[in-house]
Symmetry: C2
Subunit: 420 residues, 2 copies
């Protein structure tokens, strides 16, 4: 990075303390590949029998790491994870596929697990070849020392960061049968963040025993209301990867889990959605150059997916984002963004609230609209926008919540100089 | 405007001289509605029998002016046009519809033409009520003095501008049967510019005699490769309007025109596409805060429409736009943007050229890629990006050209302060 990046105003004063997750071991390492003086490699080892679920970028230009991990997800089992920051290994042709495979092979050997149980992820510059050698050297350096359970989650989150200005971690402890199980999450992402899914790497670790099929459904449903509901810049990365690892050390009594509806999963399911929304909000809060975080609630849409797309049209609009950055209660731009979403919306039923204040009803400004309280809200760091789009002649029940950063001079400074 | 806006580096050193168009008369006026010390009203009067064609915003939140003009387009005939700058008359409910109708009624009376032959357009702030009175007063002030043919096209272009930093006009003279006919175009637009169609008001005037049905097809086909192929900020206005008026003073011999394929239309058709592309490029060149203009050629797509969407995904990407602004030959972001387009693209066939220099072939950087000549190109004002996306196993023949502005600190400064 050749540019000084101001720390996000949303950086937490203190970081959460993350307990160990039984059957999960982490280590990080400085390979010197691109970044100097910092760890840039994360290695994770999982207990035998660990289940895995994943969601990946929808980009038609997926990185070699995404190709490999997507293929390995078929196995439903995970033995190891290797993540590097600095070079995305995207758009690197056969050489890139080879580098990803060499890394995975080395991990399979180091941790004595089948090759198809190794996952890799890469983030950084697109189009530059990844040299697997320093990654493999790092793997060999850390692997022999890794216990069955342990590691520094904050160090791990730091090792996978690129333009991130703060370390993003979260933890929850939930009831799982007669046990308490841990959910630990680490995430990196700051730019090239748009849904489907955000340009980010997110890893969630738990000691619960959940079979891969059910785990995948749990991840997909919570991903839709978390990482797929944030946007920084509308740009979708080649490298987005979210993996959820369940070591299986804490088992449920009774019959095998077959459905996310299983009552024994209730607390876990809530905890997972909660931790995913936590890291999603943290990611939007560390959007490049962010000064304010928008929380956008859409209701009255045709369905929930339509509501999310409308929310993202608002959150992605450069004109809405700059109005928020400028503390300008310019709600006409929200009207514009709803109108361009392409979704079923009814102009003459549209209602808008900002910061809890009524702004528009039935397709126009409310009578005696007073800007002062709205302007006061716009001066805060947390901006709340709520719209009811009146679809289906006002009978639409679709709703969604979306989080988005604003668009500032800081974003321009970061991206006109940093090569990502 | 509370912000000092630097003039676009693409502002022309001298403006084109526009000849009169027979049967078209223009006048402008300062109503004092919102802008002080400048004209903000354009009035046009057309000869009896003038044909009209139009394309409008795809926004689901169309302005009252768009509603009215879209309805009147059914008549195929035009007697008058009234355009105001400063207040968009969008999201203004029944009061807005009333103001648009009052204005149109006054014009119909002033020019003694049927109400359904009056067109209106408004640009400016969304959500504020438009008072028709000063517009009607302006209309009454100018109407009695307007000759059958004449008017100041440059003054007219100036009167409809908002954040525009230069006056955008163009003129062509083409053969039309035994006549020479004139095409004059004026356009405003600088922000809230995205295709379908760009946030702009564009008016094209000609003295050719072309029936409304054929005129509409001519306008639609040229609009697709001009105003619908530019983007500044991906934000689609509530107010986009492009109208083409043909006074009919210059008539063709022979049978009535029934098809755009009619050979007698060949020069006119080319001239129309040409003038539309001219004003489209001028509009992108006056994008808010623009420092460089991208010309993006996409080939190898599934079809021309897919190629255009891919071009717009590149031209709309904040990361591509900031890289261009920063003179950074960061072609990985072009890969990213192609990947997120959602169109049929084949990663391992993707080819990219910048400024005529080969950058990537077959899904990776070219061997011995040298950045120096590309970096040199990036330091210019005109940036040329060419991609072949290799769809249909390399057999795709779809192509399109798109123009886009970059994303600079100037854009942020303008939009974090100016209420539009």
């Amino acid at each position: 990075m050749s540019v000084e990046t101001a720390t996000s105003p949303f950086a937490p004063k203190r970081l959460a303390k993350l307990p160990p997750v039984e059957g999960v071991s982490l280590a990080s390492y400085a390979t010197g590949s691109r970044y100097m003086g910092r760890d840039d490699l994360l290695v994770a080892k999982f207990a035998a029998g660990t289940s895995v679920a994943g969601v990946f970028t929808t980009s038609k230009m997926p990185s070699a790491a995404v190709d490999l991990s997507r293929a390995h997800l078929q196995s439903g089992k995970a033995g190891a994870l290797v993540v590097n920051a600095g070079i995305a290994n995207a758009f690197t042709g056969k050489a890139g596929a080879r580098a990803a495979m060499q890394t995975a092979r080395a991990a399979a050997k180091a941790f004595d697990c089948p090759l198809e149980q190794v996952f890799v992820a890469s983030t950084g510059v697109i189009g530059e070849d990844l040299d697997a050698k320093p990654l493999i050297a790092g793997l060999h350096a850390v692997a022999p020392e890794m216990p069955a359970t342990g590691g520094d989650y904050i160090g791990a989150a730091r090792a996978i960061g690129t333009t991130d200005t703060f370390v993003k971690v979260a933890t929850r402890t939930v009831t799982f049968g007669k046990h308490k199980v841990v959910l630990n999450a680490i995430v990196k992402g700051s730019g090239m963040i748009a849904p489907d899914m955000a340009t980010l790497l997110a890893f969630v670790f738990t000691d619960a025993a959940i079979p891969a099929g059910v785990l995948q459904k749990l991840l997909s449903e919570s991903n839709d209301v978390s990482l797929n509901a944030i946007t920084v810049d509308s740009d979708t990365s080649t490298s987005d990867t979210c993996l959820l690892f369940a070591s299986g050390c804490k088992k449920l009594d009774g019959p095998a889990l077959r459905s996310v509806q299983d009552k024994r999963l209730k607390a876990f399911r809530t905890g997972l959605r909660d931790i995913m929304q936590d890291i999603a909000q943290q990611t939007a809060s560390d959007g490049e150059g962010v000064s304010k975080l928008m929380t956008i609630d859409v209701s009255g849409a045709e369905d929930d997916a339509a509501a999310r797309r409308i929310g993202l049209a608002i959150g992605n609009s450069p004109l809405v984002k700059t109005a928020v950055a400028g503390q300008d209660a310019n709600w006409g731009r929200i009207v514009m963004a709803v109108g361009k979403s392409g979704e079923w919306v009814e102009r003459d039923r549209l209602a808008i609230d900002i910061g809890g204040h009524k702004v528009a009803r039935a397709g126009r400004a409310v009578a005696h609209y007073k800007e002062a309280p709205v302007a006061r809200h716009m001066r805060g760091k947390q901006i709340h926008i709520s719209v009811n789009v009146g679809a289906k002649a006002g009978k639409g029940r679709g709703k969604a919540r979306v989080w988005a950063s604003d668009l500032t001079h800081g974003y321009i400074s970061i991206n006109a100089d940093y090569r990502s």
